[in-house]
Symmetry: C2
Subunit: 249 residues, 2 copies
């Protein structure tokens, strides 16, 4: 559903974007939503559709071998666009980037899209995949409660070593000439999962460019309006989970 | 160094590919090498250069903020091509794919490259990143010996749940119409790390298309010649590690 449809000229079906992702948490679908919202694109979202869950499960069913145009996706998010289905978060972003005007034009900067993609992949590694692995260090198919001891150890390493490493990296990127003052877009739920730790790191003053950039992104007109809308779902038991015992004391 | 240089017309420096990766193990650099070797491209490789290690460390130094064309990479592999430096394994492959003719031509299949990229990302997740995490489930910066108990638990889950899941997925992809008989390229070191487990899964007959595809790729002229050359390094203590205690009994 796009609550914006009424405000805009109707997009033809062949050009419409359809996001297929689990309802209930922002999850990995959120990276796609933020790109679509920033660009003001019209899209539907299974997270807000009555039969959304069914669309997701049938897409990733063991029985789905895809069709002549598309291999089957392993997992959501997927983007349906015309007759095509594209999967894997950074891949969808790379597909959308030029279409939504979110990456440098190839005639001006032939490798800009690859630089954006490398930053996207690095942000997804350190600020999305690793925070997920913190609460599921042993087995993704098992309950958190069954791997809590290991999760505590991994959380300590994430807070003390990994998160500062990634923040320092992005601080360095934003210090470099290629960042052009920081046009790139990355937003994260790490501060939901580890509020005390993030507050401490922010207070250290070592990652000021990163946190300033984060505020700038949150304040962009379309992103701000999205975050305040009912299209934005709450963090809860998805990738980013707030277990106080995994945060700083 | 390219031992093939003598056999070919000399590539001009501005067009030459330079792979920057740790010497000593195939590692993530291997995915890039296989693409370059399959295409018969000329390239240099820091893994075979006397000062290769220094090139890698200076590239990923805390002091490197990149230049006006390039943000700094977080980690190798990186590809230097003319004035550009591209990082992140799947990103480099996506950059090389069209240049080396390893992805469908955009005029015939506008989204072929995105489908190849989604399969690449999935293969890297399940057959490269996860096997690495098996021997380092808690902290990448700590010794294996300090997280051996957790590694045993994670290895059990990987062998019994994750690896079969990814093999079943690729079997499904290869069963689908979009695979066109299996032109795509993915090769892995999982059978080095978990030889007994892989032998068992192979013997089950459930993943015949995957293993047949693997043999086909290994038998391709350029890949075969590469694997037999001194450009190919041995697996040892990199991503793929053979700890008998982490394999099936």
């Amino acid at each position: 559903m796009s609550t914006r449809a009424s405000k805009r000229q109707k997009t033809e079906e062949k050009d419409a974007y359809h996001l297929i992702y689990w309802p209930g948490v922002p999850g990995r679908g959120e990276h796609i939503r933020l790109a679509l919202e920033e660009a003001g694109a019209e899209y539907t979202d299974t997270a807000h559709q009555e039969d959304g869950m069914k669309t997701v499960t049938s897409l990733i069913s063991d029985q789905n071998t895809g069709d002549s145009h598309n291999p089957p996706p392993l997992a959501p998010p997927a983007l349906k666009h015309g007759e095509y289905i594209i999967s894997q978060t950074p891949n969808i972003l790379m597909y959308l980037g030029p279409q939504l005007g979110l990456v440098p034009d190839v005639s001006e900067d032939p490798v800009g899209i690859y630089h954006v993609n490398s930053l996207t992949l690095t942000a997804l590694d350190g600020l999305s995949n690793e925070p997920h692995d913190v609460h599921h260090p042993i087995a993704v198919g098992e309950y958190y409660e069954n791997q809590k001891d290991e999760a505590k150890k991994k959380a300590k390493d994430y807070r003390e070593s990994r998160l500062p490493k990634f923040l320092a990296y992005f601080e360095r990127v934003l210090s470099g000439d290629a960042s052009k003052g920081g046009e790139y877009l990355y937003v994260n739920g790490v501060s939901f999962a580890f509020p005390k730790c993030v507050e401490k790191l922010k207070g250290s003053g070592k990652y000021d460019k990163v946190f300033k950039h984060y505020e700038m992104v949150k304040g962009r007109e379309n992103i701000k309006s999205y975050l305040e809308s009912d299209r934005r779902q709450e963090y809860s038991m998805g990738i980013y989970r707030h277990y106080p015992e995994l945060d700083d004391e």
